[in-house]
Subunit: 93 residues, 2 copies
């Protein structure tokens, strides 16, 4: 449940997603990727994700750890599911 709690925080999954997808990103680049996030929130999430060893500082900004990458695999499979889900929803409306 601790994992769900951490990932349930605003933009937590989005940050990990972007870091894994686009490789190491600077603070500013991440800020731009997560279009609606504010620097204060981004900084907070980064601190939490770093404390959780899912993200760490690398040359060129921030990057996912090995663990973060493994979690990303799960997010990927959830993203697959989300397409199916979107299909289903559009059929119902």
């Amino acid at each position: 449940m601790a994992l769900f709690d951490l990932l349930g925080r605003h933009w937590a999954m989005g940050i990990l997603w972007n870091l894994c997808e686009a490789g190491p990103l600077t603070f500013r680049a991440l800020e731009a990727k997560c279009e609606t996030i504010t620097p204060a929130s981004l900084n907070k999430r980064l601190k939490e994700l770093r404390a959780a060893e899912l993200v760490h500082r690398v040359e060129g900004g921030y990057g996912a750890t090995v663990l973060g990458d493994r979690l990303y695999d799960h997010l990927l499979s959830m993203a697959d599911f989300s397409l199916e889900w979107a299909d289903h929803l559009s059929q119902c409306d």
Copy 2:
């Protein structure tokens, strides 16, 4: 991203988790399972999850839809990962 947004809301994954694990539950039973949730939040999340067709009303309260169950599979595999993650964290500290 819409899925991450929905599931990122407070207790959203926990609610789905409990519904899938414990079968149909009444509002009060769910409230008890999610120990720290308030009825106002629970009601809000339930409305969102129902709008997303992941949860629906059934005899005996609320239950997961077929789609919700499929999403639960992904949560399960994330829970597996979380054990690994917890191990890793405890080693570092």
